[in-house]
Amino acid sequence: MPDDKLDLLQGTLDLMVLQTLDTMGSQHGYGIARRIEQVSGDLLILNQGTIYASLVRLQHGGWIAAEWGTSENNRRAKFYSITRSGRKKLARQAENWDRLSAVIGRFFQTAAKGAGE
């Protein structure tokens, strides 16, 4: 496996799925997987099968809803869309994520400075 690809952090996939549905609107599993790969600039190793576990989790939590529809190639496919509580969760999680990455970033900066002296 190439070294420059990133493994997904635990729990981040759910967040990406939510974000994708928030910006793209209703989407099927393939569409969501595609989109995540595109946005990440193909840097993420996404085992597309894992999307569905994430979708089930989000559905159980009531953050997304599912509906059967027809795909681009005229096949029956399940379309997912974000719910109101999903949006709230997304906002909360995004803020958490920001704070966490800020802390981590600061931590590494200080550590780098400390090491430089």
């Binding site: 099968g49 569905y52 576990a53 089930v56 939590g61 029956r76």
Partner: protein
Amino acid sequence: MNSLLARVLAAFRKKDLDREFQDELAAHVELLTAENRRAGMPEDEARRAALVKIGGLEAARELQREARGLPTFDSILQDLRYTFRTLRKDAGFTTFAILIVGLGIGASSTIFSVVNTLLLRPLPFRDPARLVWIANSGEEGLSGQTTQVRYMVDLQEHSKSFSGVGGYMAFYGVGDNKLTSDGPPERLSGVQVSRNFFSLLGVQPFLGRSFTAEECKWGGPQVTLMSYGLWQRRFASNANIVGSKLLINDKPVTVVGVMPASFDFGAVFAPGTQIDLYSPFPLSKETDAWGNTMAMIGRLSPGASLATARAETSILGALATKADKNGNGFEPRLRLLSEHVSGRIRPALLVLACAVGVVMLIVCANLSNLLLARTATRQKEIAIRAALGAGRGRLVRQMLTESIVLSLCGGALGLMLAFFGTSSLAHLQTLSIPLLENVHVDITALAFTFLAAVLTGLVFGLVPALHVPGISLHDSLKETGRGSSEGKSRTWIRKALVISEVAFACVLLVGAGLLIRSFVRVMDVNLGFQPERAATLRIDPDSRYSTQAQQNTYYNEALRLVRDIPGVQSAGLTDALPLGRNRTWGAPAEGHNYTKENFPLAFPRIASDGYVHAMGIPLIAGRDFTARDTPESEPVIIVNQTMAAALWPGENALGKRIGAGGNQFRRVVGIVGDVRHLALEKNSGNEMYIPIRQTQDIQSVDLVVRSTLPLPALANAVRETLRPLDPNLPAQEFRPLETLVDKAVSPRRFTMILLAGFAAFALILASLGIYAVISYSVSQRTQEIGIRMALGASTGELQRGIVFQTMTLAGLGMLGGVAASWILARAIQSLLFGVTASDPFTFLLMLAVLTLVAAAAGYLPARRASRIDPVTALRSA
């Protein structure tokens, strides 16, 4: 919470959801393939790349299922399904396992139900932990343990530790009340209680009311409360019974109420008897003059403890005894009522509980052993599952699931057995064990059974299950591989299991052996009378015979009529059959001075001429009573050997006089043999016989008949004969004397039979264990045996070798078992009679039994081994 609910729901819609996901996934693959095609891949390559991208369809499905449902639950279901399949395939093993677990658990939960009712569950009274049994200091005899009314009143007035003190008159007789109204005449048992007795226990009448102060006065109105059982049986639960009058002993008695069904006096205070009527006992001068009569119960007042109550009552008792020289004295002995009730049966129950525990251990050892043998034959299957990716944890869990399923099935069977066992125990009314009627399988027992089943499954499944990961994949999958190195450690465990089974069985056998020997000893005790071919019937004279002269005419007439029946050898009357009544009277010899400590007491029995002979009591010297011992003739008395020797050591008692039960002196005219009248295990002490025609101090009259007639014929003949004398003679209760003895030994027999049953079960299991291990080792060594036979080993040698192997195992087990029994037998000392806890005969006999059984269990596989055809054995290698 929501997501948990969703998961649970999903777990139940597995099929639908799987199908849906199948579609969803197919669409995804389709889209990916199309994308790859657009990128210029050939058709099959495009699809393959799509599948890789998804990470495998099965894996995606599994991931989704895991997120969706209850993964552990699912896999447990899977384990269960698999378990049922394998267990069904091996029906013989399954049946056997369920059967022995069922028997073990059935026995355990039955015993648990008994223990729970008798020892654990509180008595059926309000706040029973505060109830105290207040006995008097006397050691032997009911008279010694009961208290004179004056001391009870004193305690009621002065004690601060008790919020109430009440009691019942202990000297009631079974069947003392003859009911002649409302249907056929019937003898009922009644007990007199102090006014506060029911409120003290916290029991309210179900109908009507309790006694009033007026009714509790001497000579007050005659009233009674009846038991729920009597009300239902005889009065068809008639709600208007309160206020009606019954004819009891020919006197009208008003019914003031009915006690609730939950109140069973007999079950708590007089095991094995049924009390039908409760009447008030006056605490008056008159009843005080009767001497020691009251069995007392106190309720501790708030803040008081048993210890403070003990201290206080002993001071109060001593003061009262000192203050009043005319009293019988009161030296209180206090214990909790619950201890008093369960006291005597407690050691036996504890022994049974431990025994049943040991039985369960043997069951577990046995099943462990069988499961180990099964894992050995299933090695290949297990190896294949491991090779296909089953984790070790999963395999262990699978094995444990199997054993727990087995033991739960066994538990279900056991529960049925327990329902059956408890209900048959509860209906053993002749058994004089307290509270036995209340024994049933309740929620606690259900929980116990369930826990026992799960625990049993875990215990017997653990060793085999932990063995699973040790199975070597490579060896197992090879065609002929036998996993020899694991084989050794497994053999070692199996041997240890068998050894411990033998040891446990040995302990149970020795325990049962000691109890059986004790029982035999008790039954061998010289009762002093001969119960065979003798029977008794209550024939109290009714109210038409009120004066002593009339009563004496009645006795003469009754005896004459009965003796005239062909086949009747002798007949006599008494007021106290052995192993029934319990009382003592003062009995000083004329011309002796006694201190209070050595004042002679004796068990009095009012009897007629012919009683001694009808009972088969030997007349040692002097004469029996005659019909001429009347109020007009000299007062006479017959004493037993012990009393003759105690009152006049070294002298001839005949012709001496005794002041028996009053100031009147009676001349000793006869000396008879001792009778075990309290219990089979207890010596007689002083006994004296007073002629029935010279006293009116009689509460009941029992006719004792010795005859060659069969009981039903005798009963009919006696009833027919006596009809002119007493047309109201109740029909029931013609009892062979043997039933008295049976009842007296019933708790001992109960314990013995149960323990013997457990021991037999243990013996069977242990022999099966030995058989299983030896025949397994023989089948494993078929080739070796074949080679040895080909090399010229004789059948005899081979058999000897295998039997020797068996005996080594059994011997080790017995060694441990004997050592454990030696120590544990001390614990059942109190249940033994006539044998010591280290009785060598019992130990040797039980070892012989075990040796024989072990030899038999080893001989069968040995014989099979010697019949192995060397050619076939070697070829199969």
